[in-house]
């Protein structure tokens, strides 16, 4: 990483950046050759089209039906961000062969500091040509646009405007002037709302925004306005000024045994992403980029930097990590380590910080849960939620971990208790049984004369219970044997009538039984047959 300090009272000069953009990358990633008229469609609009389709008048943003009208033989492909990112990885690797510090901004866009390569290859234009050639060789077709300028915004716009020409180089120090005629909507992702507001206020160009006094912009539009103004002046946002982050912000997980499956590793990456953002938030910082690093059991180390543009949500970060893992593809051995490290850490301006951070125990536990979800599927891990009800099985439910009512402490404990404490007449009193049989075990109850026990319609037992038995095959814990034996004490029957107004209604009579040997069970009679509902194990 380059220089590390911000000198007080002086705006540091913005870095010279080379940006390579591939506007129609999704259609290249979909594998459609350039001579076939094809388009990638997202949300019923054309997202990208091959040169052949463009010749027929199919362009970005066109409605799907209109595109089909203009070009009857058009091949339509659905959008897939993961596919785009996977296919982008070889291009990034090819560019990395030319220069250091390559960062992935998105699938179809990368940037790198231009100073080194420009000196080495003999000028910005020469470096841009080399990068363009390398990218197009890796992709196997033309279509890459490269721009060099001071600041990332100017370089991106220069690249896009260079699509028709060869490459665009904005001379050093000329970015502000060059950007001035561009509309404010060119600020791009994350500034849509601000751009709309600026237009309504009569500030239509970046030049107009750049000319506004800084303190007034900050006062009126907040940190995001200040950031936009800096971008319009050809400077990089202050919060993304390169600085080495304190080491404890990086999150890593190790795999023992090595993880072969990308899906499982991606689950862990999701947990790591959440943890890293929590740590950043706790320190009041944001990151301009994240480096995703992995090592395999054969000692191979993989690393890739992703620039974080727009919102910094855990889901978005996790998605990038998954794309990267897929981009690296299957390796000769399983992964032994995965690490996410924030880079270009700066103050998190204008972001709401969480009041309470996560404890280290919670972070570790969530990572382990993610690992198990990767092994067995997301539904396999459950959280317990207390709910209302009359039987022990009704009063506590399992919900998949991470669903809105589970996983969160608030959802499971607090919300649940309130419902659980509501009056539910007829519920089983405390203490609750430690084993709840799902489904209940079929049982036989006999009286002292050896006759099957029955409960009358008025809830009267035919005789005191004397003996209980259950079939062995359905035993709750296989080696423990089926519960059964002579009854030494009992109470009930307690009638329970639920939902008598509809078909889901049930009518039961409950007994608590204490068997010889000291084990207690909760049994009920429904429609003449007996069931062991729970055991006080």
């Amino acid at each position: 990483m380059s220089g590390g300090r911000i000198l007080p009272g002086r705006t540091p000069p913005s870095e010279r950046v080379l940006v390579a953009v591939w506007p129609d990358w999704p259609v290249v990633a979909s594998g459609q050759p350039p001579e076939v008229p094809a388009a990638v469609v997202e949300a019923n609009r054309v997202r990208a089209a091959t040169p052949a389709a463009r010749l027929a008048g199919v362009g970005r943003g066109l409605r799907r039906r209109e595109a089909e009208e203009r070009c009857p033989g058009l091949v339509l492909v659905g959008g897939d961000p993961a596919r785009d990112a996977r296919a982008w990885e070889p291009v990034v690797a090819a560019v990395e062969g030319l220069a250091v510090g390559v960062e992935v901004c998105a699938a179809g866009k990368l940037c790198l500091p231009a100073r080194g390569p420009s000196r080495y290859f003999g000028g910005d234009a020469a470096a841009a040509r080399r990068v363009k050639a390398a990218a197009e060789t890796a992709a196997g077709q033309p279509g890459c646009a490269v721009g060099v300028a001071d600041g990332r915004l100017a370089a991106t716009l220069a690249a896009l405007s260079a699509l028709s020409a060869q490459e665009a180089v904005v001379p050093p120090g000329g970015s502000r002037e060059w950007l001035a005629p561009w509309p404010v909507s060119a600020l791009g992702a994350g500034f849509e709302e601000l751009a709309g507001l600026l237009v309504r206020l009569g500030i239509r160009t970046l030049g107009g925004l750049a000319a506004l006094p800084g303190p007034s912009v900050l006062a009126r539009f907040g940190p995001s306005g200040e950031e936009a103004r800096r971008l319009a002046r050809g400077e990089d946002p202050l919060s993304h000024r390169p600085r080495r982050p304190p080491p404890d912000l990086a999150c890593s997980a190790s795999f023992d045994p090595p993880e072969e499956r990308i899906e499982a590793a991606a689950f862990v990456a999701k947990a790591l992403a959440g943890e890293m953002l929590d740590r950043l938030a706790a320190a009041g910082l944001t990151a301009g980029a994240v480096s995703i690093e992995a090592s395999t059991e054969h000692g191979e180390t993989l690393s890739r930097r992703w620039r974080l543009e727009g919102d910094l949500a855990a889901a978005a970060l996790a998605e990038r990590a998954r794309w990267q893992l897929e981009g690296w593809g299957r390796r000769s051995g399983g992964l032994v380590m995965l690490r996410l490290a924030p880079e270009e850490v700066g103050p998190g301006l204008g972001r709401q910080l969480a009041l309470w951070g996560r404890s280290p125990e919670e972070g570790r536990a969530r990572r382990a849960i993610a690992r198990v979800q990767g092994l067995l599927g997301p539904e396999a891990v459950a959280a317990a939620v207390l709910t209302g009800g009359r039987s022990p099985a009704d009063r506590a439910r399992l919900v998949p971990w991470g669903s809105s009512r589970g996983g969160d402490r608030a959802g499971s404990a607090r919300g649940g208790d309130r419902v659980g404490d509501a009056p539910w007449p007829g519920r089983v009193p405390r203490p609750s049984p430690a084993l709840v049989h799902r489904p209940p075990l079929s049982a036989t109850l006999l009286d002292s004369a050896g006759m099957p026990l029955t409960v009358s319609g008025r809830g009267i037992l035919s005789a005191p219970p004397a003996f209980m038995s259950t079939a062995g095959a359905q035993a709750p814990l296989s080696t423990a044997g089926a519960p059964g034996g002579r009854v030494t004490a009992w109470a009930g029957p307690w009638p329970l009538e639920e939902r008598w107004w509809d078909a889901a209604g049930r009518r039961r009579a409950r007994l608590q039984l204490l068997l010889e040997g000291g084990d207690a069970h909760l049994v009920y009679c429904e429609s003449g047959s007996w069931w062991v509902e729970a055991s006080y194990a």
């Binding site: 536990a365 891990v381 317990a384 971990w401 203490p431 609750s432 430690a434 799902r438 423990a480 207690a520």
Partner: protein, 210 residues
């Protein structure tokens, strides 16, 4: 070291549950409740607990015993890959309560025990039959007496148990304690000690029953 409620502390040679150890319990006759009591002492001190292969665990009882359900994860049906699941959970959880769905091979069991030792986690085996390794501690309910239930009247209110703790090394000498599990005083006191004289009177006759 996990702190254990004072009532149970006498059972353990070090007055607490040592991290990086294996504890075996029987599944019925009080074993489940003991497992919940151990999980309660872990989660109430900020640790996370997981239960693997116990779909029938009484979650309401767990909450009444003092388990913080927000820190409890359940894998009710781990299937054939349970050793991998347990290994992953031992990495991140302070306590994993396990009922193996099939007896593990000696190699697998050794690896899990080693993993628990390395990560400082407690592996609680509910139903250790078929577990090839000797656990560090083995808690056995010698006798249990439920109170409150009569011949056709009353309801279960509390239970006295006599628990024996044996095992390896320091736990080689067996310790016995009489406890309330659950106690008559309500939900918060999950396990409470029974004064010595009272315990002898109550449990003496029933000691052979379990």
């Amino acid at each position: 070291m996990f702190e254990i409620p004072a009532a149970m502390a006498d059972l353990f040679p070090e007055k607490g549950l040592r991290r990086a150890s294996t504890v075996a319990l029987q599944p019925l006759s009080g074993g489940c409740s003991l497992a919940l009591a151990l999980a309660a002492s872990a989660t109430s001190r900020g640790e996370w607990a997981a239960a693997v292969g116990i779909g029938s665990l009484g979650l309401l009882a767990a909450a009444e015993m003092g388990v913080d359900l927000g820190r409890l994860a359940l894998v009710p049906d781990p299937g054939e890959r349970w050793p991998e699941v347990v290994a992953a959970l031992l990495d991140g959880f302070g306590m994993v309560v396990l009922r193996p769905s099939a007896p593990p091979g000696g190699e697998e069991a050794r690896r899990l025990v080693a993993r628990a030792r390395e990560r400082g986690a407690v592996l609680v085996l509910l139903d250790a039959a078929g577990w090839p390794e000797t656990p560090d501690l083995r808690l056995t309910v010698r006798a249990q007496i439920w109170e409150g239930l009569g011949a056709g009247h009353g309801r279960l209110s509390c239970r006295r148990v006599e628990v024996a703790c044996g095992g390896r090394r320091a736990a080689g000498r067996e310790r016995v304690a009489a406890l309330w599990l659950p106690s008559p005083d309500g939900p918060s006191a999950a396990a409470a000690a029974i004064p010595a004289g009272e315990a002898g009177a109550g449990l003496g006759g029933a000691a052979a029953a379990v």
